[in-house]
């Protein structure tokens, strides 16, 4: 049988990916790219779940990742519908230019 990958390495990778996603979500201004960075952060969390589930020979990690994927899919559908609507109303998808609530 193959030897397992040390779970610490997977958690380090998860932390690096989460940080990249957080940096992108803070510095970018295009809402769709921000959205993709948030998806990347969700993926990093999924990786942490799978790595810990594997380390503890538990299946709960996979089940939690399944639910996270469900929520991510719903979030993608509703979020992108909102972006399309914002683009129709404001004519832009730049997060700095969107000021619908400003009086």
């Amino acid at each position: 049988m193959f030897q397992e990958i040390p779970s610490g390495l997977c958690l380090v990778l998860s932390g690096i990916i989460f940080s990249i996603g957080a940096i992108g979500a803070i510095t970018r201004r295009n809402v769709i790219v921000i959205f993709m960075c948030i998806e990347l952060m969700l993926n990093a969390v999924n990786l942490a779940f799978i790595a810990s589930g594997n380390a503890f020979s538990s299946m709960d990690g996979a089940v939690f990742v399944f639910f996270i994927m469900t929520v991510a899919a719903v979030e993608a559908a509703v979020g992108l519908a909102i972006f399309v609507m914002v683009f129709r109303l404001q004519g832009t998808v730049n997060a700095d230019e969107v000021n619908l609530l400003k009086g």
Binding site: I32, A76, L80, D96
Partner: protein, 178 residues
């Protein structure tokens, strides 16, 4: 080369691909390039899931993320006019040097904290009932399915209602008003 080294080397290469492609995703100016690098990231993550004995999740990753979500994102990128969302042509002033440095410092602190937690925190938990060999004997998808329809039946039903609400909500929001 023995089998032990092979899996580790594959993990390292895939981890490198994930990091490089996600950095490219976060930095490309063209959103379509970002989306395509994101797909590379998702596929590489699926390989890592395979290496961690999560075959069902690896396939679901490719189907849900790389298939459905990224296709939706590419559709929306092509639907909205990206020239007007261009980050260069914004009317707002770009970030000042101090603001950039503060953000960078914040991110470095976050990264160090995460790495510190990942490397030095000793996780203690009861070892579960699903060692890799036993799961492989039954089948990964079968085990996950038995859990989803058994122990996690109620959250599974709630997730289905959530998906239904998501479908209806997306249609209602994106519907063009007459």
């Amino acid at each position: 080369m023995d089998a032990i080294g092979f899996k580790f080397i594959l993990f390292m290469i895939t981890a490198l691909v994930v990091i490089v492609s996600s950095v490219l995703m976060a930095t490309r100016k063209n959103p379509i390039h970002s989306a395509l690098w994101m797909i590379v990231t998702f596929f590489a993550m699926a390989v890592i899931y395979l290496l961690l004995n999560a075959q069902f999740i690896a396939v679901a990753q490719v189907m849900v993320y790389a298939g459905a979500i990224m296709m939706l994102i590419l559709f929306v990128i092509m639907m909205v006019n990206m020239d007007k969302g261009d980050e260069k042509k914004t009317t707002k002033a770009p970030w000042s040097f101090g603001k950039k440095m503060a953000a960078a410092l914040l991110m470095v602190i976050l990264l160090v904290e995460l790495l510190f937690g990942a490397l030095f925190y000793r996780m203690t938990a009861r070892v579960g009932d699903y060692p890799a060999d036993a799961v492989a004997a039954v089948g990964n998808a079968k085990t996950v399915g038995a859990l989803l329809y058994g122990q996690y039946l109620f959250p599974f039903e709630v997730a289905s209602i959530l998906l239904l609400i998501g479908i209806v909500g997306a249609v209602v929001i994106a519907k063009r008003n007459k």
